[in-house]
Each structure stands twice: as C-alpha cells, then as structure tokens.
Amino acid sequence: MSADFDVIVVGSGMTGGWAAKEFAEAGFSVAVIERGRNIRHRTDYKDFEPPWKLPYLDRIPQDEAARDYPVQSTLYAVRGSTLQYWIRDSDHPYYTPEDRPFRWYQGYSLGGRSVTWSRRVFRWGPQDFLENSRDGHGIDWPIRYEDLAPWYSHVEKFIGVMGTYENLPQLPDSEFQAAMPLNCGERVLKERVEQAFPTRNVINSRGAHITEPTKEQAELGRGACRYRNYCDRGCSFGAYFSSLSATLPAAQRTGNLTILTDSLVESVIYDDASGRAAGIRYVSTADKSRHELRARLIFMCASTIATACVMLNSKSERFPNGIANSSGVLGRYLMDHILGVGADGELPGLEDRYYAGRAPAGIYIPRYANVTEHDRDVLRGWGFQGRASRPSWERARWQPGIGADLKQRLHQPGPWTVGLSLFGEMLPDKDNRVTLHPSKTDRYGIPSPYIDVHHGANERKILKLGTDDAVAMLKAAGCVNVRARYDENKDWSGGAPGEGIHEMGTARMGHDPAESVLNRWNQAHDVPNLFVTDGACMVSTATQNPSLTYMALTARAADHAIGLLKDGSI
C-alpha cells in the first residue's frame, strides 16, 4: 500500500496545527487538509483598522445576515472584520429537532477557530478526570491528570500563557509568562469577594497571550501583546496563539508540511485486508472534483461535530455505521459548556481611577462547588470569567438624554462595572448525539449533520445556583444595581446548547472498546492507525475552557503515534 504522506491531519485549527507541528518536527511528511479557504497570517487580517474604517459599525448587512448567517451572526465574534473566519450557514446546513435548537458556530478557514477563540487557558485539575466514575455519569477517563501534566507544560511553553501562580489544587498552574495585572476595580473585587467567601478565589485570567516572548516565539515572528484587544480579527504581532501564528509556521519551517485548503474530507478509507485506515477521500470545493490521499496514519482534528460526521460517513463492510464504531458510541455523548447567565453590577468608588490600554484579560473565579464547598445538591460545578471596567459612550444606549448634556456626560467614563459570566459543566448523556441526516446533503452530496442535544436537570440547577452565587458575590463586593442574567419566569434561562462553542464528545476515550471509540492514546480501538484528538475525544467537559486540554492531548497522542511509526507497528 503506497502512501502519499506519512500522516494526514484532517483540520488545521487548534489541534490540527499541533499534530502537524509534532509530526513535521519529528521528520515525518504531513498533509494538513482544510475544508475552508486559505488565510495568510498578517496579510489577511483586518487588525489595523480603527473603528471609523470598519463599515456599518462593523455589522453584517441585515439582509445578508438573515439570508447567509442566521446562526453565525448571533455570535459576538462574528462581525464584518472577522467574517472571513466564519462559514456561511447557507453553505453548511445542519438540522435539529424543531424544539431543540443547537447553535453551531463553525469556523472553516485555515487556522479554524484557533484564530477567533477567546484565548482562555486553564488546566484541568485531578478531580476533572475522576468525576465520571465518582457520580456514574459517563465512563471513567482512561487517563489521569498526571498523564497530561507534562504535555500541558509542553504546550504552554510553546504557545505562551500569561497568568499568576496560585497553587490551587483544582486549577493547577501553567508554565506562565507575566500576568496582565488586575485593574483597580478588579483588585477591589478580588479583595472583597475572597474576604466574604474564603472558599473562593478571584484570580487573574489566564490566556494564550505573550507578555515575555521566548526565543522560540521570537524566531517564529511572534511578539508581545500591544494591548489593542482586537484579537479575534487576527493579530499581526502574533501575540496570541493561533495555528496561523505559531503551529503551522513551526511545521512549515521543517519542510515536511503540505497544506491543502478548499479540500473537504468526505470519509476515511478503510482497508479490510490490513484492518487499517488507508487514507481519506476529499472533495475539491472549487470544482467538486473527488480525490483520494493515502497515508500511514490519520489524525482527525476537524472539530468535534465535523470529525464525528466524517467518521459516521466512512462506511465499509466491517463498519456499516461508521469507521471505528463497533461500540455504537460514535456520535453520542455530545456535550458543550453551559453559559449565558451570571450577573452585572456597579462598583461604587474609585471614580478618580482609570486605566490605559486594552488588555485582553480580566478575572477568573475557579470552580468551588464540590471542590471547596460541599453544601449543595448539585453535581459537578462551574466557574466564572469576568472583568471590571468603566463603560464609555455605549452606556448612552440605556439612558435617555440628548444634546450638550449628553455629550458632557459621555465625555467622562461611566461608573466601574463588574460582570461575571458562568461557565458550567454539562453531564454526558447518551441521547445527546449527532447523526447523519437520512436524506439531506450539502452541495457536494455529503450527508448533513442532524444534531439532537438538550440540557438536563443538573444543567438547569447549575445555571440557577451559579447565577445566585454571582449576585451574592457582587453584592458582597459592595456592588449596587446588581442584575442577574437569569429570568425567574422562564423555564429555561441561559443559551441553547452549542452557545458555549465548546462542543465535546462523540468519539470518547475509554478503557473498554464496547463503550468507547478511542483508547488512552486517542487511538481508535478498532483501527490502530486512526487517531482523534479534537474535542470529539472528550469524556466529560469539566468547567474550564477546553482548548488547552485538546492541545495537550494532541501532543501526547502524536508522541505516542510517533513511537508506533518509528517501530513500524503502524
């Protein structure tokens, strides 16, 4: 069986970039296949435009938004200046039950959603790998924190993470560069909340932003943050981590990387004789022509739902329901973080204090429920992201007033305000799943996803309890005009599933091939040269933003696979 490449990596985002880098640096030939268009680092970014150079207040024209971006345009990060990173919904249809909406924010272009991510970086703690087995929801993780810790370090040193050493057991420290300091409002909040709630911590947010470039980062053309906070337009300084700024250039300089854009992977080819994946089939989206590519090893990094769909669509005599799906689990246990709730308030005082520069930072309140507090009837937990700031002119929107008085008022910043946004854990549930639609296809004839996900009782409980906690913390901090982002009169508050943009599960890891798709090395139980290292591999969600964990899992899996390639076993 001749191979075009040693390794095919499907997807060029957060994890695809890491797989490409690790294999290319180890001397293997790598093809990264990206369904979306090419994006050139720096050249294609719109990050030097001041507000008055962004047409229409950076909004998407209304008719275009309704016609082509009905889902995408509901997301804060989808604007005129970032539109090139997001799909047109009309090009990538998916379906849900009518009463169960799922918001799927899809970033198909080179670099994927690593270009537009919120750049929060938090390690999982030891408890996060244990809770499935403790409370019986989902299966046990086949790895523990200690298995991943060195790979967290490996990833963090390369990407650049700013933060403070806190020594919290539930949120282990990363390899940090200097933190972005708390502003005056955040310092007051920290002091008062920690005093009122000794079991809780308010810490500097941790993010993939360079504050002290390493030699390796400088060699890749990456520099320190300039405090513009235009990050999700792409950063010409390379100050935040993305595939485009870091992993793909690192892979490219080895000479071992080939990138194919505008190439949509349709399925994985299974070779019955060898019991291995032989390669992939893809469609060239420019002319709809069909192609095949062969390799010794396949890494699926297409993003959770896309990866699940490619695998479900990879049917053979041996795997009539999708490759590596002898368990029937493929597509199931789809999860997301729950959010959309929290609280806002005004912090009196500090009227004569302000800040300068736009830091892409803020505060983080790590999980405390069932970690340092055990007094509530709820499983798992939640954390909060937040910041303190002084609103500028935009506060006029909610208050009447015109004329010179209005201008005079807006000439000065508004009162300090604090917002806390909850990120909560979602339990794995067999019935939350993606399948292939029985009849609908995209323009290339590839079956469309059918996504059926709902939140359960524990998720609702977290949203309510967490909101109450946010209100209590703001009040304890001395805030006034505290408003809960939660409507008591609604059966459901918070967003639809998918709005966390942290899709996880569908090809979960596990010890037992009868109830999981992947082993402890992210390797398919059924197909030894097929690996899945994007969010699809996740067994639970924890409360932390997941990208760092995906990257660490990818680097760890690649290291294992490199061993197998070297000893000839795949």
């Binding site: 962004l54 300039r226 405090y227 302000y354 929107r397 015109i402």
Partner: protein, 198 residues
C-alpha cells in the same frame, strides 16, 4: 499610529476647539483631519447631494436631528463628524427594507409632529422648538410604548456613529490604535476623558 492630543487634562474647551480647527486648516479644510490612515475618511464632504439613500430634504432632516442629539460644542457635533453621511451609508448598505421603512416613517412622523405643533416642517422650525420636540420624543422613547419606539434605535445609531467616527473617538473622546502598554490603575486626571472603549 496613535492619535495623541496635546497631553494632559488641562485642555480647556477653547484649546480643544483651536487644535481641531488648526488641524483642519493645515490640510486645507477637507479630507483627512489627521493625515492618519488611508484615503477614505469619516470627515464629511462639504458638498451634499452625494447621498446614497436619502433624498436631499430627508438628509437635511437627519442632519438636523443628529446635530440636536450630538450638537457642536467645543468639539464638532454629529454633522461635523460626518454622522449624517454615515447614517445615509448605513441605510444604503446595511439596513434591510424593514429597517429603512421604520426610519423613513420615523422621519416623516417627526416632521408631522412639528407641522401639527408649529405649523412648519421640522427643519423650518426655530432651533428651540426643534430641540424641545426631540427632547420630548427622546424621553418618551425610553418610557415603554409611549412616543416613538423607533426613535430610540435611531438615536442610538447616531450616537454610535458619532463616537466611532474619527472625530468622536479621537477628538471628543480618546483613542489609541496600538496602546503598546497596559496601565491597570491610573488617575483619571492623567487620561483626562473617556477612552472610546470600555
């Protein structure tokens, strides 16, 4: 490419005005105020009639109402910052048919109110009458269903257009394209006025 105003909070109203007029004079009274950035600019064309969506009389009405919402003080007002042109562009390129109809009807309604009360179209009323009428509508628009619900959206677009314009962001407020540093806690007096961002 930071647009720095003369440092410090001591800028009196008079000085800010002088600096601005000086800058305009320097570049011949048109085109880019600060010579920063590229060709297109939010600074208004001096000659009207180039509107893309509104008729001339509607543009006058938009401009007058916008200038009542954000008047010229020691710094330019809405029209001085090009917000009437901005709003016309917004209607031509961004707004759906439904949005356009709402705002066209709003303008018609404001004109009709002026006529009913003062016997003259809005732009022909005297400035005090105009200001009183808009102040009333503004107050109403924040009281649930009373008054003109579409006014609030119109007003907010005018405000957004002003404070995201080059004049609004960098002359009336403070703007830095590349701050280059983060100072998490400084005396407000050192900054002098609000940044264009929160």
């Amino acid at each position: 490419m930071t647009i720095e105003r003369p440092a410090g909070a001591e800028q009196s109203a008079v000085r800010r005005r002088d600096v601005l007029l000086g800058a305009i004079a320097l570049v011949g009274g048109s085109a880019s105020l600060f010579g920063c950035g590229r060709e297109e600019t939010a600074v208004p064309e001096l000659h009207r009639g180039g509107s893309k969506f509104f008729a001339e009389d509607q543009m006058r009405l938009v401009g007058r109402i916008a200038d009542i919402i954000i008047p010229e003080t020691d710094t330019p007002g809405a029209v001085g910052a090009g917000v009437d042109t901005f709003f016309d562009t917004l209607m031509a390129g961004w707004a759906s048919e439904a949005t356009r109809s709402r705002f066209v009807a709003l303008l018609r309604d404001i004109d009709a109110r002026a006529t009913a009360r003062h016997g003259a179209g809005f732009v022909d009323c005297d400035p005090q009458q105009q200001e009183r009428l808009i102040a009333e509508i503004d107050a109403d628009s924040f009281r649930g269903n009373a008054g003109l619900p579409d006014f609030r959206d119109f007003r907010n677009l005018i405000i957004a257009g002003y404070y995201t314009s080059e004049v609004g962001a960098s002359v009336e407020l403070r703007f830095e394209l590349v701050p280059g540093r983060y100072l998490p806690c400084v005396p407000l007096a050192e900054i002098g006025r609000a940044w264009d961002y929160r």
